[in-house]
Subunit: 243 residues, 2 copies
DNA sequence: TAAATAGTGTCTATGAGACATTATGTA
DNA sequence: TACATAATGTCTCATAGACACTATTTA
């Protein structure tokens, strides 16, 4: 990460003064998914202030930018994780967070030019996030994909959520990210259900098992001790293999 | 696009004054690919000024941000297309341009906090872009993937180019974007070559033809008049079906 | 006719989807 | 024993990779 900086460049940097042309505000907005009561849900907050006062939006906030060349503030990913922690109280290190896309249409915020870097977060359902209103937010709730259709979202957040949903569906279909939506230990039917819920279509038990077995053979998954107790035949319990 | 704005909100917006906390600069940086002499090449420019004076970087520039709530400046995509036109003289409407990812690590620009929205552009080789130095750039050139390895790139542009390359390879493998790297009319071997060049691996003629025939049946491609003249058996010429 | 490249066909392995069947626990 | 659900097996079809083979043009 260290590069050669000539004394000439050093001098340039010391005497550099940023121009005074206008700059945009930059926010991170988070589409936080989890599974509650066998439904895929997303976290929304209700705006307490204008603009879009009373509308539902996904949580987000301004990226903290430093005052000087040496103090440039927080990384984008760090801003996303900070917002996540503030909104859900969860440890960001235990949550899958990835950058989604950047939304920067002029006029998307009526106050001023705001460019939003969108993020997707996947919360394991067993972490049972406790959400609470606070700050510039009057209400917080988890909303299922069905309920979402009926809601009016502020700013361009409908587009952001739609993009996020498309993304995680693609990732679940390629058998990547579903693990971030399942408890630490899980049975095959449980994992299959998560796929079915996210993709919103039935999954054949036999066919899903085949995929599962391949992941077992590939060493991605291992059996965990115990069995899941149900009202009928107990299922074998598995877990992710720690890398 | 029109939403109800209460008179109360209107009043809020009129009296709204942005806070004076620091804002980042936002740039768009373009990874522009084309194919020249049967090699995948990317456009680089040489910096004439500090920082990274003399280093090669991908072209880019600041997003133009308006002064007021009503004049918010240009969209991100528009900024990318403007930069493309400025650097290559090409009509942006004839070039495939898509957003890649956003790079915003604190310290990535030693002058100040700069957040870069990366874009990928694919230029059809028959558009034969004429590139010329100008502005804050002392030199411009197309660089093959092999040559790229030996070059030292400024800022975090190595990471940006690597991310872009991964993206277009994934898109070509799913048979999407290769069409943007091929002339308006093309033969099967020509299209196969583009795939081979981008993916950097030989493609079997028979197997590739199968994929091609499926696209024909799907109505994606149609036969064009004439034959491609070579030193041996002429090949049938195809083109994209206009949607 | 030879050389070169376009174009075709075939064998095999793999994975997906549909669906029937067996196994093993609880009430 | 009845029932529920876990777990297994099988048939078919679509696609990918490897590779042998035929067709058509130019020199």
């Amino acid at each position: 990460m260290s590069r050669k900086v000539t004394s000439e460049e050093k001098q340039f940097l010391e005497s550099y003064r940023p121009g005074d042309y206008p700059r945009p505000s930059v926010t991170v907005d988070l589409v936080i998914f989890t599974i509650i009561d066998a439904r895929l849900v997303v976290l929304l907050v209700k705006r307490k202030e204008h603009p879009f006062k009373g509308s539902w939006v996904v949580p987000g906030g301004f990226v903290r930018v430093g005052e000087s060349a040496n103090e440039q503030g927080e990384d984008l990913d760090a801003a996303a994780k900070r917002e996540l922690a503030e909104e859900t109280g969860l440890d960001p290190e235990r949550v899958h967070v990835e950058q989604l896309a950047t939304f920067g249409r002029a006029g998307r915020d009526p106050r001023m030019r705001v460019i939003s870097v969108g993020y997707v977060a996947l919360v394991r359902p067993d972490l049972a996030p406790i959400v609470k209103a606070g700050g510039d937010v009057s209400d917080v709730k988890w909303v299922s994909m069905d309920e979402l259709k009926k809601l009016e979202l502020g700013f361009d957040h409908r587009e952001i959520v739609t993009t996020a949903l498309t993304r995680i569906r693609a990732e679940v279909e390629s058998s990547d990210v579903a693990f971030d939506l399942v408890p630490l230990t899980f049975t095959i039917p449980e994992l299959r259900n998560v796929h079915a819920i996210v993709l919103d279509k039935d999954m054949d038990p036999g066919n899903f098992r085949r995929k599962f077995n391949r992941m077992l053979e590939d060493g991605l998954i291992e059996q965990a001790p115990g069995k899941r107790i149900t009202t009928s035949k107990p299922a074998t319990v598995y877990r992710f293999k720690r890398k």
